[in-house]
Subunit: 311 residues, 2 copies
């Protein structure tokens, strides 16, 4: 199975309002609640691609109970979340039906105790021993966890000989890189924050020097730029821009890259899958889902090629 | 005891953000959750004034469980909420620390079945029989309830000889008035919506003709205007404007009016209490709480007088 780690899982709440009016009262016409946090989004897409997936991380309180209840309804994802005394965070996305995009409110998340972290490590290491074929470490850290904790999880996976992908930002990414993950998937902003370089290829090279074996930089509507283990550069783009909601598109790219790795696909095919999934997620009416027809249509039409290496 | 009815109870969530940025991602620096809905706010203030209070209405789902858990921690309020199969709504108030006021997102509320409404009527009538001294019917109706349901509750209370206050708006207010509640407490906007008259005294007279025995119109920072049972007009104002958050100020006014009625205070003293509580609620740092020092300070300083009746 593939293991996804979501240390700061969430209930993602979507509110639809006719028109967002700041500093006044907005009546919500529609609400939806689903399991969220990057790693759970990745797990759902992996399962939809047919991969047996185990989701671990933390869940607690009423929102944690709701999350587990909703996760139980997702075919192909096994719940291995560790219970905590705190309460799982909620994110609230307000969709403005008059246009202008989604306004997000992200709660910080529960404080994790050292006993809870130790309990998580036990679950994680058992999953590594029990036949994990790949690991995805995804998203922000909740309060209370050591900033270097992703580095520890990367080292454990590498010691077990299991490929590990890291998708986070800021100091947890910086620390995690030094532990030599097989792949990191920053977006251009995260790469710039890490390296100071605004040019993605230059920044990706810097990230690789810091420890990542390979770097997949997500460039939003422009697709993915990859610096592979052997230092070659590949670029994949959708054939045309896709309109919609980009929430979860990066998580779908992670699922595409990791499933391709587990299936032994070469880099061009991994990239094509990741970019097609990502675009099909933008096209889906529900944030974080992917549209299967769009995926099937795009998969053979992603332009993948070697990038000019001058930089 | 005093009975408060909250048919559309809520968990009131407060998010604090450094600056509200619409159509982008806002990291929430602080969250708070408390029992909400107008009737529960009224119950909390009544209990703080020393009145034994029973809160009924509906609660269900994870948010309902959280609401009951939090309500159990409020001294002096007995939980008589009726369980439902739906999920209690949440309201989200986003406080912009840079100024500009609070942005509210109000979920519509759960759909109430006819069996649940029947169960509620049983609880409500038993409370009327068990020694209720006054009833407050507060707030909006959740989906599924007949629009005339407040009228039924007013009739039941009057049949039992128990004074009843109605604080709602729109069609439920219009229908409820016809059942002759002892007091209604609309704000100027609700009165205008009901009667078409923008001038509060004219609108209050119209509301009284429609059935209310007395009308207390809340005029925001300008205090209260009352048209009493015998047709006289009184006005109460705070001595100076109070800065702060007006959320819950109207509910504190309801608690002031109802507690004064139960204690046999005359109208000027009821009004002074209501206006002082309302202003002390605006002054409190937490929405819906009242600041006791401000209340004590203002109580003797509220200007109450007969209003010019020319209109």
């Amino acid at each position: 199975m593939i293991v996804t780690v979501t240390l700061n899982a969430a209930i993602d709440v979507t509110y639809r309002v006719p028109r967002l009016r700041p500093h006044t009262t907005n009546r919500v016409s529609e609400t939806a609640e689903r399991p969220g946090g990057k790693g759970l989004n990745v797990a759902r897409v992996l399962a939809a691609l047919g991969h047996e997936t185990v989701a671990t991380g933390f869940a607690g309180g009423p929102a944690g109970a709701l999350l587990r209840d909703r996760l139980a309804a997702v075919d192909g994802v096994t719940d291995a979340l560790v219970p905590i005394s705190g309460t799982t965070r909620r994110t609230v996305g307000v969709v403005d039906a008059s246009g202008g995009g989604t306004t997000m409110f992200n709660e910080p998340g529960p404080t994790i105790t050292s006993e809870e972290w130790t309990a998580f490590l036990g679950v994680y290491r058992k999953l590594l021993d029990d036949g994990a074929r790949a690991v995805a470490l995804c998203g922000s850290l909740p309060p209370g966890l050591p900033v270097g904790c992703y580095a520890d999880l990367v080292r454990d996976a590498r010691a077990a000989g299991i490929p590990v992908l890291l998708d986070t930002s800021g100091e947890p990414l910086r620390r995690g890189l030094a532990a030599r993950p097989d792949l990191v998937k920053p977006n251009a902003g995260e790469l710039a924050g890490l390296t100071g370089a605004l040019e993605p290829l230059r920044a990706a090279r810097d990230a690789r020097r810091r420890g990542a074996r390979a770097v997949a930089a997500s460039l939003g509507p422009d697709g993915l730029l990859v610096l592979t283990e052997d230092g070659s550069v590949l670029r994949a783009r959708p054939p045309a821009p896709v309109a919609g909601n980009p929430a979860g598109a990066g998580d779908s790219a992670v699922a595409g890259l990791l499933s391709g790795l587990v299936e032994g696909l070469d880099w061009p095919r991994r990239l094509a899958r990741a970019v097609a999934l990502s675009a099909a997620t933008v096209a889906a009416p529900v944030a974080g889902e992917f549209d299967r027809a769009t995926y099937a249509d795009l998969l053979g039409r992603i332009e993948v090629g070697a990038e000019d290496e001058a930089c």
